[in-house]
Symmetry: C2
Subunit: 340 residues, 2 copies
DNA sequence: TTGTAAGCGTTATCAA
DNA sequence: TTGATAACGCTTACAA
């Protein structure tokens, strides 16, 4: 038929058209597209054939309006400086899409924007809002999110401890314990911890775990410095400043960083500002295992989170109709490389 | 009232509720939320006050269903290895959101997935699908997208030349010309060009511009190598392999890379595989100005695209109701750093 | 300026 | 297994 071209252009093909073409009712068309619908095999085939022919696909917006599921989630992200974000975005969008879920990406411009971001998401009827790897103050954000109009609020890759949210993350204590044991086993003597935002308890776990373990093992308190954002540039400056004037014996022999974003900046500072070598003069460890960590330039010893498994758990949580609890027990693995 | 808590939980507040509370009709409520609606100041205030009180926000899904605009766009992305993607995602989501547009992030898993990705987007009634910085074969993708059910198809940060798409990008010829002039002015003698996917014409412009200019200026053809994806690791291996066995005089004195993703990998190879220095032994240039390019470790001479301006143009294109043409004349600026 | 009718394309629910 | 009714919450006419 010469309608071929026409069909594609002439506005939307709806279930009604397919129904007419297949000689069934509109509702039967719909059933054909639902997995566990009660429909005869014959009807379904007839419908799917007609749909194929007419190039019909269900309109998910209309579906969302009529049902109470949109199969849409919002990813709220507050920081694009950390390369690990790209990794998480890739995994999350991949796994979500493989499970029939689309993803709204919402850029939280600043802490005050958190509330607007969530409202935005709610206006699209998302099934869940996922806060990915917050660096903004958890408390501020979760409070702003207090009057929530979103069904589920999930904190991904960070523990939250906040009621009404579901956390999905690695067991930070176990992870940092493993890393610290490794560091202790290597015989380092003068550690310094480079921490990120000091704002909330969730951010402090890695630092505290390290400091506590070190104290117990060695009998003295490790030095700690921190930066207000997970930004390699800030880490560079903080390290350059903190270590700049020190004489050799006062320098740490290892810089334990809360994550890779900080570790990469720190390593640059050690080499290019202080003119020292790593690991020979100062060793470095990170957390996350961003792609660059594996590059021969950094060869960063770090801890890899099981992001895919976490994303799959997220899908499970999404599909669970009832309330869910936290899943903060994921275990990753230490990636031993050249930097420590 | 003790309803306070209740209101937030008891299901959605609709325009009807606000209408009742404000003592107007549902349609008046709607007008109050539209910028140029014909409504008296008084009515609007009354409505907005009631809306505020009831914590009402319009449902954008329902709005999209009823109108033919969704204020939703899909960002189709085919590659998360290139750190420039994170920059583009940040700018695009920021600018779009500032203009009332939400963003669907769709991960194209492979070339064959392009069609499904677009259908996915269309099922959400997006106003436009934006292909950001394709590395997959343009032709394959644009063909897959042929039977398109999306109103606008925009190719961002890459020229497409394909009819039925709108490109928004820098003028690659002008950009590469500027970069090449700089390189020529510095007196390099033995260039090598590191190209990305050789698949389509859009990918070839930078290479061809460089090779042509070099030939005209110096009278001989520059060497070219290429990798199938914009992946730093592949660049590393390609450079290590191409230059590995060469004696000093056979080595290039500058490696001109199609973009920063390749340049970073190339630089790592020069230093850590070949054991050479940059720029002393081999200089390097990139394209994009990713954040790492500015780090003292790389200090990469590169070309910064005006991503924000391009994003703003994108918004314009989105808002233009009619068909639009390409906007491929953006000019960025060369960022001269230590690497060349 | 305001109100009304008629959808938008689906789904929940019940009846056949 | 199938068909029909009534939403879902909004917008675009157009009429008052």
């Amino acid at each position: 038929m010469s309608d071929d071209r026409h069909d594609a252009v002439v506005g939307v093909v709806t279930a009604d058209h397919v129904a007419a073409a297949a000689g069934v009712s509109r509702w039967t068309v719909n059933r054909a597209f639902k997995k566990d619908a009660s429909i005869s095999k014959k009807s379904r085939e007839k419908v799917l054939a007609a749909a194929e022919r007419l190039d019909y696909v269900p309109d998910l917006m209309a579906a969302a309006l009529a049902s109470d599921r949109s199969n849409l989630v919002a990813l709220l992200i507050d920081d694009f400086r950390n390369p690990h974000k790209l990794v998480m975005l890739e995994r999350l969008t991949r796994v979500l899409r493989q499970n029939g879920c689309d993803t709204l990406l919402v850029n939280m411009l600043d802490e005050d924007d958190a509330h607007r971001a969530l409202v935005s998401a709610s206006q699209r009827r998302v099934d869940a809002a996922i806060l990915i790897g917050l660096q903004f103050d958890d408390e501020v954000i979760l409070t702003a999110l207090g009057a929530r109009r979103v069904k589920k609020l999930i904190v991904f890759a960070r523990m939250s401890g906040h009621p009404n949210t579901i956390s999905i993350s690695v067991d930070d204590v176990a992870a940092m314990t493993e890393l610290t044991e490794y560091i202790l086993s290597k015989g380092y003597r003068r550690p310094m911890f480079l921490a990120g935002p000091n704002t909330q308890s969730a951010h402090l776990i890695r630092k505290e775990t390290f400091v506590d373990m070190w104290q117990r093992a060695r009998g003295y308190v490790a030095e700690v410095i921190s930066v207000p954002l997970y930004d390699p540039d800030l880490a560079f400056r903080a390290v350059a400043e903190a270590l700049g004037g020190r004489s050799r014996p006062d320098l740490p022999d290892i810089l334990v960083c809360e994550n890779d974003a900080l570790a990469l900046g720190a390593m640059d500072a050690i080499r290019h500002d202080l003119g020292l070598r790593t690991p020979d003069d100062i060793a470095v460890t990170g957390f996350d295992d961003v792609p660059q960590a594996a590059s021969p330039n950094y060869s960063l010893t770090t801890y890899r989170q099981p992001v895919t498994a976490m994303a799959e758990k997220l899908v499970e949580v999404l599909q669970a109709r009832g309330d869910d609890t936290d899943h903060t027990g994921f275990r990753g693995k230490i990636m031993v490389r050249g930097s420590a």
